[in-house]
């Protein structure tokens, strides 16, 4: 029952806010693509809902529905010694995702992932898991909406700010198998956490002419799943700088560069801390988004610049993301 109530809160929030929303200029957010930098949820390796610190949205942050592919490469230590062998891990995620406006200031983002992961052991054996992952639904509310430039000089601003906050829920629609969590290899080799997790998020961005700067932070409260495993809470942050280019043949090209990081608290099993499960990782991120009419596509890569995951027993190698969206 509690879970039902919790998962319905987005609907409630929507109704409440909706009732009070004044009518504003509907083209406000279409002026410059940097007003919003969307919520960026990351998952450690396989089992989060969205994948790889690549965000719930696009740099340009239009409303859309689309598909996204995320590849993450890890290696993790199979054993407890300095010379224990590494296991190569490949995390693949295909997502249906969308950002749908509800009112001028409120939007709902949903992501449904399908994961297909595999890992290769030194003895030549391998293990694969695949399946629907955890469905995430978030609501975002815009606190600061950039002003639309008027015709006169005193109605125009060169710097435009955007701030939005949001929250949501990640539901245990993906399977969690405790057996994959034993041994000393990566505890996140899963397609789901098996838990109801709750997310708070904030995004700020500022645009100046064709330049944009985005900053984001979010926090995921994770809960114990039904087999008494509790993934640690997670803090995610990111900073991106982007620039818009317009050409005749392509509507927009937006290259961007930045940093994105994740901090994980210790996991718990049967209420007891699991040693060597906390950590943090920071990536350098490079990418670009291109739009042609109603279609938008993007690519980005993330390379670790600093990491300390699972006491060094897990190493992130790189992440790659591709998406194709239809703008609403």
């Amino acid at each position: 029952m509690l879970k039902y109530i919790s998962s319905c809160f987005i609907l409630l929030a929507t109704l409440m806010v909706n009732a009070n929303t004044p009518i504003e200029d509907p083209i406000a957010s279409a002026v410059n693509p940097f007003y919003k930098y969307d919520y960026e949820e990351c998952d450690f390796c396989g089992c989060g809902s969205t994948g790889g610190g690549m965000g719930y949205g696009t740099i340009g942050n239009e409303n859309f529905i689309g598909i996204r592919y995320i590849y993450q490469r890890y290696q993790s230590r199979d054993g407890i010694f300095n010379n224990s062998p590494w296991v190569e891990e490949n995390f693949n995620t295909l997502q249906l995702w969308g950002k749908i406006p509800v009112t001028e200031k409120l939007s709902v983002t949903a992501i449904l992932p399908y994961h297909f992961h595999n890992r290769n052991f030194v003895d030549g054996s391998s293990q694969s898991i695949n399946g629907i992952g955890d469905l995430s639904v978030l609501a975002f509310y815009s606190l600061i909406t950039p002003k639309v430039d008027g015709l006169y000089a005193n109605q125009q601003t060169s710097i435009k700010h955007m701030l939005e906050i949001g929250g949501g829920v990640k539901m245990p629609t993906g399977a969690y198998d405790r057996a994959n969590n034993e041994g000393s290899v990566n505890p996140s080799f899963q397609v789901g956490t098996g838990s109801w997790d709750y997310i708070l998020a904030a995004n700020y961005s500022v645009g100046y002419e064709t330049w944009g700067l985005g900053v984001l932070a979010n926090y995921t409260f994770k809960t114990e799943n039904n087999v008494d495993y509790h993934f640690g809470n997670q803090f995610t942050y990111g900073v991106n700088v982007s620039k818009v280019y317009n050409t005749l043949s392509i509507d927009k090209i937006i290259p961007y560069a930045g940093l994105a990081g994740e901090v994980y608290a210790e996991n718990e099993s049967y209420g007891l801390p699991v040693a060597d499960t906390k950590g943090n990782v920071m990536f350098a991120r490079l990418g670009a988004e291109i739009s042609f009419g109603k279609l938008g596509t993007g690519v980005n890569v993330m390379l670790p610049v600093y990491q300390s995951l699972n006491a060094g027993n897990v190493e992130a190698k790189y992440r790659l993301g591709l998406h194709l969206n239809y703008m609403l």
Partner: protein, 268 residues
Amino acid sequence: MKTIIKLQLLILTLALSVISCSSDDDATQELSGENNLTIEFDNSVNGDDLLLGTSSYTNSNGETLTINRFNYIVSNFVLIDAEGNEYVYPKDDSYFVVSEEEAMNEVVLENIPAGDYVAMRFGVGVDQEKYLQGAEGQGDFLQIAEETEMMWSWQAGYKFLNFEGIFTSATVTEATNFQIHMGSHGSSLDNYKEVTVELPTTALVSESLSPIVHFAVDANEILDGNTKILLSEKAVVMIDEVKSPQIAVNATGMFRVDHVHNGENIEH
């Protein structure tokens, strides 16, 4: 103003949703019944996995060893719970050989009463009480010890530790065999020692929970422990009234619990 009210509503809604889920499940179940507790002895040398015959390891004595045999006897297990209560595993069933070459690395203690165990005590070797029960009193263990090179003869007694290989050093440049056979030598010299280790995570035993306690056992401690034992001085140590007791103490320093897996019927 309207924006602020809306914001308050939104934050309130979010806060409620977070609170409503944190009060969920999490009921700590009462531990009842009994189950197995598995102990894995993962052998290593100074932080590296022990690989017989292939890798060489240099210790702080400046001696480089290639290890060909690493066998030892562990016995008389006692589990200690959070309240300090001790569960003594039945003595007749409490003798085990750990042998790297035979891949005997696992000790399964059966029918352990439910509990939250925070520490463990056990012996390295065979105590005099057991030995003085005579050959018949040893049960199957006598045969296991013979098959794993853990006996000299019945009169001479058990080898508690059988550590063999080849080594070189500054003074011994030719690869030379070494043999460390430590034991009690009948009833004249008692080298049986006990070790108490704390578990980094409580091991939970119940009808549905059967934990694995994963030891990292450091063979480097035998020569490079409390007392430095130089193979260059003596490469074959069997019956030695000075070095054998020192090695027995060093051997107690080999044992550290790396981690504990809690779970039901888990594969490690």
